[in-house]
Protein backbone atom coordinates (compact mmCIF):
# COMPACT_ATOMS: atom_id res chain seq x y z
CA UNK A 1 0.00 0.00 0.00
CA UNK A 2 1.20 3.48 -0.77
CA UNK A 3 2.08 5.45 2.32
CA UNK A 4 2.78 9.01 1.20
CA UNK A 5 3.02 10.45 4.72
CA UNK A 6 5.33 7.69 5.93
CA UNK A 7 7.56 8.27 2.94
CA UNK A 8 7.53 12.01 3.57
CA UNK A 9 8.59 11.52 7.19
CA UNK A 10 11.41 9.24 6.08
CA UNK A 11 12.66 11.81 3.57
CA UNK A 12 12.39 14.49 6.25
CA UNK A 13 14.67 12.54 8.56
CA UNK A 14 17.15 12.08 5.72
CA UNK A 15 17.48 15.83 5.45
CA UNK A 16 15.43 16.39 2.28
CA UNK A 17 14.42 20.06 2.38
CA UNK A 18 11.51 19.55 -0.01
CA UNK A 19 10.07 17.05 2.45
CA UNK A 20 10.48 19.60 5.24
CA UNK A 21 8.74 22.25 3.13
CA UNK A 22 5.85 19.92 2.34
CA UNK A 23 5.52 18.70 5.92
CA UNK A 24 5.29 22.32 7.07
CA UNK A 25 2.43 22.96 4.61
CA UNK A 26 0.54 19.87 5.73
CA UNK A 27 0.84 20.87 9.37
CA UNK A 28 0.05 24.51 8.65
CA UNK A 29 -3.07 23.58 6.70
CA UNK A 30 -4.11 20.98 9.28
CA UNK A 31 -4.30 18.57 6.33
CA UNK A 32 -4.66 14.79 6.76
CA UNK A 33 -1.41 13.36 8.11
CA UNK A 34 -0.48 16.36 10.22
CA UNK A 35 -0.97 14.61 13.57
CA UNK A 36 1.04 11.65 12.38
CA UNK A 37 3.88 13.88 11.19
CA UNK A 38 3.99 15.72 14.50
CA UNK A 39 3.94 12.60 16.64
CA UNK A 40 6.72 11.00 14.57
CA UNK A 41 9.03 13.97 14.83
CA UNK A 42 8.41 14.83 18.49
CA UNK A 43 11.12 12.51 19.78
CA UNK A 44 13.75 14.28 17.68
CA UNK A 45 12.98 17.73 19.06
CA UNK A 46 14.99 19.51 21.71
CA UNK A 47 18.30 20.09 20.01
CA UNK A 48 17.64 23.59 18.73
CA UNK A 49 18.09 26.90 20.50
CA UNK A 50 14.91 28.80 19.65
CA UNK A 51 15.20 32.57 19.48
CA UNK A 52 12.23 34.89 19.06
CA UNK A 53 12.47 38.40 17.59
CA UNK A 54 9.62 40.77 18.26
CA UNK A 55 8.99 44.51 18.12
CA UNK A 56 7.16 47.13 16.09
CA UNK A 57 6.87 46.98 12.29
CA UNK A 58 9.86 48.50 10.55
CA UNK A 59 12.16 48.29 13.58
CA UNK A 60 14.47 45.99 11.66
CA UNK A 61 13.51 42.51 12.83
CA UNK A 62 14.04 40.85 9.45
CA UNK A 63 17.33 42.69 8.93
CA UNK A 64 18.54 41.56 12.35
CA UNK A 65 17.44 37.97 11.80
CA UNK A 66 19.40 37.98 8.55
CA UNK A 67 22.51 39.35 10.28
CA UNK A 68 22.27 37.05 13.27
CA UNK A 69 21.97 34.12 10.88
CA UNK A 70 25.15 35.19 9.10
CA UNK A 71 27.06 35.35 12.39
CA UNK A 72 25.81 31.92 13.40
CA UNK A 73 26.89 30.54 10.03
CA UNK A 74 30.43 31.75 10.73
CA UNK A 75 30.30 29.45 13.76
CA UNK A 76 29.22 26.69 11.40
CA UNK A 77 25.72 26.41 12.86
CA UNK A 78 22.67 25.35 10.85
CA UNK A 79 19.61 27.58 10.95
CA UNK A 80 15.89 27.54 10.42
CA UNK A 81 14.02 30.82 10.09
CA UNK A 82 10.27 31.25 10.57
CA UNK A 83 8.95 34.69 9.65
CA UNK A 84 5.34 35.50 10.51
CA UNK A 85 3.38 38.31 8.86
CA UNK A 86 -0.24 39.31 9.36
CA UNK A 87 -3.05 37.74 7.38
CA UNK A 88 -5.68 40.13 6.06
CA UNK A 89 -8.83 39.70 8.14
CA UNK A 90 -10.91 40.63 5.11
CA UNK A 91 -9.65 38.25 2.45
CA UNK A 92 -7.69 35.65 4.41
CA UNK A 93 -4.77 36.39 2.10
CA UNK A 94 -1.41 37.83 3.08
CA UNK A 95 1.73 39.40 1.70
CA UNK A 96 4.73 37.72 3.28
CA UNK A 97 7.71 39.97 2.59
CA UNK A 98 10.39 39.14 5.12
CA UNK A 99 12.52 37.26 2.59
CA UNK A 100 13.30 40.61 0.95
CA UNK A 101 15.84 41.24 3.72
CA UNK A 102 17.32 37.76 3.55
CA UNK A 103 18.64 37.45 0.00
CA UNK A 104 22.25 36.91 0.96
CA UNK A 105 21.55 33.88 3.08
CA UNK A 106 18.72 32.46 0.99
CA UNK A 107 21.00 30.24 -1.10
CA UNK A 108 22.93 28.81 1.85
CA UNK A 109 22.05 25.10 2.03
CA UNK A 110 22.41 25.20 5.83
CA UNK A 111 19.63 27.77 6.12
CA UNK A 112 15.94 27.13 5.60
CA UNK A 113 13.54 30.09 5.54
CA UNK A 114 9.79 29.81 5.80
CA UNK A 115 7.20 32.61 5.76
CA UNK A 116 3.84 32.22 7.48
CA UNK A 117 0.63 34.22 7.63
CA UNK A 118 -1.10 34.49 11.01
CA UNK A 119 -4.31 33.07 9.48
CA UNK A 120 -6.55 34.73 12.00
CA UNK A 121 -4.50 33.88 15.07
CA UNK A 122 -3.72 36.71 17.48
CA UNK A 123 -0.67 37.06 19.67
CA UNK A 124 2.00 37.60 17.04
CA UNK A 125 2.33 34.03 15.75
CA UNK A 126 0.22 31.68 13.67
CA UNK A 127 -1.51 28.73 15.31
CA UNK A 128 0.92 26.35 13.63
CA UNK A 129 4.11 28.32 14.31
CA UNK A 130 5.00 26.14 17.29
CA UNK A 131 4.74 23.03 15.14
CA UNK A 132 6.79 24.59 12.35
CA UNK A 133 9.52 25.39 14.88
CA UNK A 134 9.40 21.76 16.07
CA UNK A 135 9.70 20.52 12.49
CA UNK A 136 12.84 22.60 11.94
CA UNK A 137 14.20 21.47 15.30
CA UNK A 138 13.60 17.82 14.44
CA UNK A 139 15.10 18.41 10.99
CA UNK A 140 18.32 19.07 12.87
CA UNK A 141 18.70 22.84 12.84
CA UNK A 142 21.01 24.15 15.59
CA UNK A 143 19.08 27.41 15.81
CA UNK A 144 15.54 28.38 14.92
CA UNK A 145 15.02 32.12 14.56
CA UNK A 146 11.41 33.25 14.75
CA UNK A 147 10.29 36.69 13.59
CA UNK A 148 6.86 37.61 14.95
CA UNK A 149 4.28 39.98 13.57
CA UNK A 150 5.15 43.46 14.69
CA UNK A 151 1.74 44.45 15.92
CA UNK A 152 2.94 46.41 18.93
CA UNK A 153 1.97 45.04 22.28
CA UNK A 154 0.20 41.78 21.91
CA UNK A 155 2.88 39.51 20.54
CA UNK A 156 3.60 37.74 23.78
CA UNK A 157 2.98 34.29 22.32
CA UNK A 158 6.62 34.07 21.40
CA UNK A 159 7.74 33.51 24.99
CA UNK A 160 5.79 30.27 24.96
CA UNK A 161 7.80 29.02 22.00
CA UNK A 162 11.26 30.55 22.33
CA UNK A 163 14.10 30.00 24.78
CA UNK A 164 15.41 33.51 24.24
CA UNK A 165 13.24 36.49 23.33
CA UNK A 166 14.85 39.47 21.64
CA UNK A 167 12.90 42.73 21.62
CA UNK A 168 13.81 44.97 18.69
CA UNK A 169 13.12 48.65 19.20
CA UNK A 170 14.16 51.80 17.41
CA UNK A 171 14.46 55.46 18.31
CA UNK A 172 11.89 58.03 17.36
CA UNK A 173 8.68 56.12 17.84
CA UNK A 174 7.31 59.40 19.05
CA UNK A 175 7.82 59.76 22.77
CA UNK A 176 5.94 56.58 22.92
CA UNK A 177 8.29 54.58 25.03
CA UNK A 178 5.31 53.99 27.30
CA UNK A 179 3.96 51.75 24.59
CA UNK A 180 6.97 49.53 24.92
CA UNK A 181 6.20 49.02 28.55
CA UNK A 182 2.99 47.13 28.14
CA UNK A 183 3.93 43.50 28.32
CA UNK A 184 7.09 43.82 26.32
CA UNK A 185 9.44 44.68 29.16
CA UNK A 186 8.61 41.49 31.02
CA UNK A 187 9.23 39.18 28.10
CA UNK A 188 12.55 40.50 26.77
CA UNK A 189 15.77 38.61 27.46
CA UNK A 190 17.63 41.10 25.34
CA UNK A 191 16.73 44.52 23.97
CA UNK A 192 18.25 45.58 20.68
CA UNK A 193 17.70 49.24 19.95
CA UNK A 194 18.20 49.25 16.21
CA UNK A 195 18.83 52.20 13.88
CA UNK A 196 21.43 53.64 16.20
CA UNK A 197 22.50 55.71 13.20
CA UNK A 198 19.40 57.81 13.84
CA UNK A 199 18.78 60.66 16.16
CA UNK A 200 17.30 59.87 19.54
CA UNK A 201 19.16 56.64 20.10
CA UNK A 202 20.68 57.69 23.43
CA UNK A 203 17.34 58.79 24.74
CA UNK A 204 15.63 55.54 23.81
CA UNK A 205 18.42 53.44 25.33
CA UNK A 206 18.36 55.51 28.52
CA UNK A 207 14.58 55.37 28.91
CA UNK A 208 14.57 51.65 28.36
CA UNK A 209 17.31 51.30 30.97
CA UNK A 210 15.35 53.37 33.46
CA UNK A 211 12.30 51.25 32.97
CA UNK A 212 14.21 48.02 33.46
CA UNK A 213 15.69 49.47 36.65
CA UNK A 214 12.25 50.07 38.09
CA UNK A 215 12.21 46.38 38.77
CA UNK A 216 14.32 44.81 41.42
CA UNK A 217 16.83 42.34 40.09
CA UNK A 218 17.88 39.48 42.28
CA UNK A 219 21.42 38.32 42.53
CA UNK A 220 22.24 35.94 39.66
CA UNK A 221 18.95 36.72 37.97
CA UNK A 222 19.19 37.36 34.22
CA UNK A 223 18.91 41.08 33.67
CA UNK A 224 18.25 41.81 30.00
CA UNK A 225 21.06 43.80 28.39
CA UNK A 226 20.31 46.70 26.06
CA UNK A 227 22.36 46.79 22.88
CA UNK A 228 22.29 49.69 20.40
CA UNK A 229 22.69 48.41 16.85
CA UNK A 230 22.82 49.40 13.22
CA UNK A 231 21.67 46.10 11.79
CA UNK A 232 21.97 47.35 8.22
CA UNK A 233 25.70 47.81 8.77
CA UNK A 234 26.12 44.77 11.04
CA UNK A 235 26.95 46.97 14.03
CA UNK A 236 25.98 45.55 17.40
CA UNK A 237 24.96 42.22 15.93
CA UNK A 238 28.00 40.27 17.09
CA UNK A 239 27.32 41.56 20.62
CA UNK A 240 23.69 40.47 20.37
CA UNK A 241 24.73 36.99 19.23
CA UNK A 242 27.14 36.75 22.17
CA UNK A 243 24.39 37.76 24.62
CA UNK A 244 22.05 35.19 23.10
CA UNK A 245 24.72 32.54 23.63
CA UNK A 246 25.22 33.66 27.23
CA UNK A 247 21.48 33.56 27.83
CA UNK A 248 21.36 29.90 26.80
CA UNK A 249 24.28 29.23 29.14
CA UNK A 250 22.36 30.97 31.93
CA UNK A 251 19.23 28.90 31.21
CA UNK A 252 21.23 25.68 31.27
CA UNK A 253 23.26 26.41 34.39
CA UNK A 254 20.40 27.82 36.43
CA UNK A 255 18.28 24.78 35.69
CA UNK A 256 15.69 27.01 34.03
CA UNK A 257 16.01 25.25 30.71
CA UNK A 258 14.85 21.95 32.21
CA UNK A 259 11.92 23.69 33.82
CA UNK A 260 10.90 25.37 30.55
CA UNK A 261 11.26 22.20 28.52
CA UNK A 262 9.27 20.09 30.98
CA UNK A 263 6.57 22.71 31.34
CA UNK A 264 6.16 22.88 27.57
CA UNK A 265 5.91 19.13 27.20
CA UNK A 266 3.11 19.05 29.75
CA UNK A 267 1.38 22.02 28.14
CA UNK A 268 1.60 20.38 24.72
CA UNK A 269 0.11 17.23 26.19
CA UNK A 270 -2.79 19.16 27.71
CA UNK A 271 -3.43 21.13 24.55
CA UNK A 272 -3.34 18.08 22.30
CA UNK A 273 -5.61 16.19 24.66
CA UNK A 274 -8.09 19.05 24.57
CA UNK A 275 -8.01 19.10 20.78
CA UNK A 276 -8.41 15.33 20.47
CA UNK A 277 -11.18 15.14 23.06
CA UNK A 278 -13.07 17.85 21.27
CA UNK A 279 -12.64 16.03 17.97
CA UNK A 280 -14.02 12.90 19.63
CA UNK A 281 -16.98 14.82 20.96
CA UNK A 282 -17.74 16.22 17.52
CA UNK A 283 -17.66 12.73 16.06
CA UNK A 284 -19.36 11.00 18.99
CA UNK A 285 -22.86 10.33 20.25
CA UNK A 286 -23.33 13.88 21.52
CA UNK A 287 -22.70 15.51 18.17
CA UNK A 288 -26.32 16.58 17.82
CA UNK A 289 -26.30 17.94 21.36
CA UNK A 290 -23.23 20.03 20.50
CA UNK A 291 -25.03 21.40 17.48
CA UNK A 292 -28.28 22.06 19.37
CA UNK A 293 -26.50 24.04 22.09
CA UNK A 294 -24.44 25.90 19.52
CA UNK A 295 -27.66 27.02 17.84
CA UNK A 296 -29.00 28.21 21.18
CA UNK A 297 -25.85 30.23 21.79
CA UNK A 298 -26.09 31.62 18.29
CA UNK A 299 -29.68 32.74 18.78
CA UNK A 300 -28.70 34.09 22.22
CA UNK A 301 -31.12 31.80 24.03
CA UNK A 302 -28.22 30.53 26.10
CA UNK A 303 -24.98 32.11 27.17
CA UNK A 304 -21.80 30.20 26.28
CA UNK A 305 -21.07 29.27 29.91
CA UNK A 306 -24.42 27.60 30.51
CA UNK A 307 -24.23 25.86 27.16
CA UNK A 308 -20.77 24.46 27.89
CA UNK A 309 -21.85 23.29 31.33
CA UNK A 310 -24.96 21.66 29.99
CA UNK A 311 -22.97 19.83 27.33
CA UNK A 312 -20.45 18.48 29.83
CA UNK A 313 -23.24 17.43 32.24
CA UNK A 314 -24.96 15.55 29.46
CA UNK A 315 -22.04 13.12 29.42
CA UNK A 316 -22.96 11.91 32.91
CA UNK A 317 -26.37 10.80 31.83
Amino acid sequence: MEDAIGELIERLFKGDRRALARAISIVEDGAPGSSRIMSSIYGKCGGAHIIGFTGPPGAGKSTIVDRVARHLRKMDKTIGIVAVDPTSPFSGGAILGDRIRMHEIAMDPAIFIRSMGTRGHLGGLARATGDVIRLMDAFGKDYVLVETVGAGQSEVDIVESAHTTVIVEMPGLGDDIQAIKAGILEIGDLFVVNKADREGIDKTVAELGTMLDLREWKDKEWKPPIIPAVAKEDKGVAEAVEVIRQHMEYLTQSGKLDVIVTKRLVEDYHELTRDLLWEQVLKGSKATEVKRLEDEVRSKKKDPYSAAEELVKSFDQ
Binding site: R18, E28, D29, S91, G93
Partner: protein, 135 residues
Protein backbone atom coordinates in the same frame (compact mmCIF):
# COMPACT_ATOMS: atom_id res chain seq x y z
CA UNK B 1 -7.64 19.73 13.49
CA UNK B 2 -9.73 21.83 11.10
CA UNK B 3 -8.52 21.96 7.51
CA UNK B 4 -7.37 25.45 6.58
CA UNK B 5 -5.71 25.36 3.18
CA UNK B 6 -4.38 28.58 1.64
CA UNK B 7 -2.89 28.74 -1.82
CA UNK B 8 0.61 30.15 -1.82
CA UNK B 9 2.14 32.09 -4.67
CA UNK B 10 5.69 33.35 -5.04
CA UNK B 11 5.81 36.73 -6.75
CA UNK B 12 9.35 37.35 -7.91
CA UNK B 13 11.11 40.02 -9.85
CA UNK B 14 14.16 38.59 -11.59
CA UNK B 15 16.69 40.54 -13.58
CA UNK B 16 18.21 43.92 -13.37
CA UNK B 17 15.44 46.43 -13.90
CA UNK B 18 14.47 48.27 -10.78
CA UNK B 19 10.71 48.70 -11.06
CA UNK B 20 8.55 46.57 -8.88
CA UNK B 21 5.43 48.68 -8.89
CA UNK B 22 3.63 46.23 -11.18
CA UNK B 23 4.72 43.25 -9.09
CA UNK B 24 3.47 44.95 -5.94
CA UNK B 25 0.09 45.74 -7.49
CA UNK B 26 -0.24 42.08 -8.45
CA UNK B 27 0.86 40.97 -4.97
CA UNK B 28 -1.82 43.12 -3.34
CA UNK B 29 -4.51 41.95 -5.73
CA UNK B 30 -3.64 38.33 -4.99
CA UNK B 31 -3.70 38.96 -1.25
CA UNK B 32 -7.10 40.59 -1.58
CA UNK B 33 -8.28 37.51 -3.45
CA UNK B 34 -7.25 35.32 -0.49
CA UNK B 35 -3.86 34.07 -1.64
CA UNK B 36 -0.76 33.95 0.53
CA UNK B 37 1.80 35.85 -1.49
CA UNK B 38 5.47 35.38 -0.79
CA UNK B 39 7.05 38.52 -2.12
CA UNK B 40 10.78 38.21 -2.54
CA UNK B 41 11.73 41.59 -3.93
CA UNK B 42 13.96 42.83 -6.71
CA UNK B 43 16.94 41.41 -8.59
CA UNK B 44 16.29 37.74 -8.02
CA UNK B 45 18.34 35.11 -9.83
CA UNK B 46 16.62 32.02 -11.23
CA UNK B 47 18.37 29.98 -8.53
CA UNK B 48 17.05 32.19 -5.74
CA UNK B 49 13.54 32.06 -7.14
CA UNK B 50 13.44 28.28 -7.34
CA UNK B 51 14.99 27.86 -3.89
CA UNK B 52 12.41 30.22 -2.39
CA UNK B 53 9.61 28.40 -4.20
CA UNK B 54 10.77 25.09 -2.74
CA UNK B 55 11.28 26.28 0.84
CA UNK B 56 7.99 28.14 0.83
CA UNK B 57 6.26 25.17 -0.84
CA UNK B 58 4.32 27.46 -3.15
CA UNK B 59 1.61 26.31 -5.53
CA UNK B 60 2.60 28.76 -8.24
CA UNK B 61 5.31 31.22 -9.31
CA UNK B 62 4.51 34.58 -10.87
CA UNK B 63 7.49 36.24 -12.55
CA UNK B 64 7.45 39.92 -13.39
CA UNK B 65 9.98 40.78 -16.08
CA UNK B 66 10.37 44.14 -17.77
CA UNK B 67 14.04 43.97 -18.67
CA UNK B 68 13.64 41.97 -21.85
CA UNK B 69 15.63 39.09 -20.41
CA UNK B 70 12.63 36.77 -20.28
CA UNK B 71 13.96 34.36 -22.93
CA UNK B 72 16.93 33.47 -20.77
CA UNK B 73 15.46 33.84 -17.27
CA UNK B 74 12.22 31.97 -17.68
CA UNK B 75 13.64 28.80 -19.28
CA UNK B 76 16.27 28.78 -16.53
CA UNK B 77 13.57 28.84 -13.85
CA UNK B 78 11.71 25.99 -15.58
CA UNK B 79 14.89 23.98 -15.91
CA UNK B 80 15.80 24.42 -12.24
CA UNK B 81 12.30 23.44 -11.17
CA UNK B 82 12.65 20.25 -13.17
CA UNK B 83 16.09 19.52 -11.71
CA UNK B 84 14.54 19.77 -8.26
CA UNK B 85 11.58 17.54 -9.16
CA UNK B 86 9.38 20.57 -8.63
CA UNK B 87 7.76 20.89 -12.03
CA UNK B 88 4.39 20.58 -10.33
CA UNK B 89 4.90 24.26 -9.46
CA UNK B 90 3.55 26.12 -12.50
CA UNK B 91 4.88 29.43 -13.76
CA UNK B 92 3.17 32.56 -15.05
CA UNK B 93 5.04 35.48 -16.60
CA UNK B 94 3.96 39.10 -16.61
CA UNK B 95 5.66 42.01 -18.31
CA UNK B 96 6.54 43.30 -21.74
CA UNK B 97 6.69 40.05 -23.67
CA UNK B 98 6.41 40.06 -27.50
CA UNK B 99 3.75 37.68 -28.75
CA UNK B 100 6.07 35.18 -30.42
CA UNK B 101 8.23 35.01 -27.29
CA UNK B 102 5.08 34.40 -25.28
CA UNK B 103 4.16 31.50 -27.54
CA UNK B 104 7.61 30.02 -27.19
CA UNK B 105 7.54 30.33 -23.41
CA UNK B 106 4.19 28.58 -23.33
CA UNK B 107 5.63 25.76 -25.38
CA UNK B 108 8.44 25.51 -22.87
CA UNK B 109 5.92 25.03 -20.06
CA UNK B 110 4.81 28.45 -18.85
CA UNK B 111 1.05 28.33 -18.22
CA UNK B 112 0.23 32.02 -18.59
CA UNK B 113 1.73 35.14 -20.19
CA UNK B 114 0.27 38.54 -19.34
CA UNK B 115 1.02 41.98 -20.72
CA UNK B 116 1.50 45.12 -18.60
CA UNK B 117 -2.10 46.35 -18.92
CA UNK B 118 -3.77 43.12 -17.80
CA UNK B 119 -6.56 43.81 -15.26
CA UNK B 120 -5.66 42.16 -11.96
CA UNK B 121 -9.09 40.51 -11.86
CA UNK B 122 -8.15 38.55 -14.98
CA UNK B 123 -4.96 37.38 -13.31
CA UNK B 124 -6.83 36.31 -10.20
CA UNK B 125 -9.40 34.40 -12.27
CA UNK B 126 -6.67 32.74 -14.29
CA UNK B 127 -4.80 31.60 -11.19
CA UNK B 128 -7.91 30.37 -9.44
CA UNK B 129 -8.88 28.19 -12.36
CA UNK B 130 -5.30 27.08 -13.01
CA UNK B 131 -4.93 26.01 -9.36
CA UNK B 132 -8.45 24.66 -9.06
CA UNK B 133 -9.35 26.95 -6.17
CA UNK B 134 -12.87 26.21 -4.93
CA UNK B 135 -14.99 29.09 -3.77
Amino acid sequence: MPMDKRYRILVAKPGLDGHDRGAKVVARALRDAGFEVIYSGLHQTAEQIVEAAIQEDVDHIGLSILSGAHMTLVPKVLELLEQNQASDIKVTVGGIIPEEDGEELKKAGVVGVFGPGTPTDDLVDFLKSSLGVEE
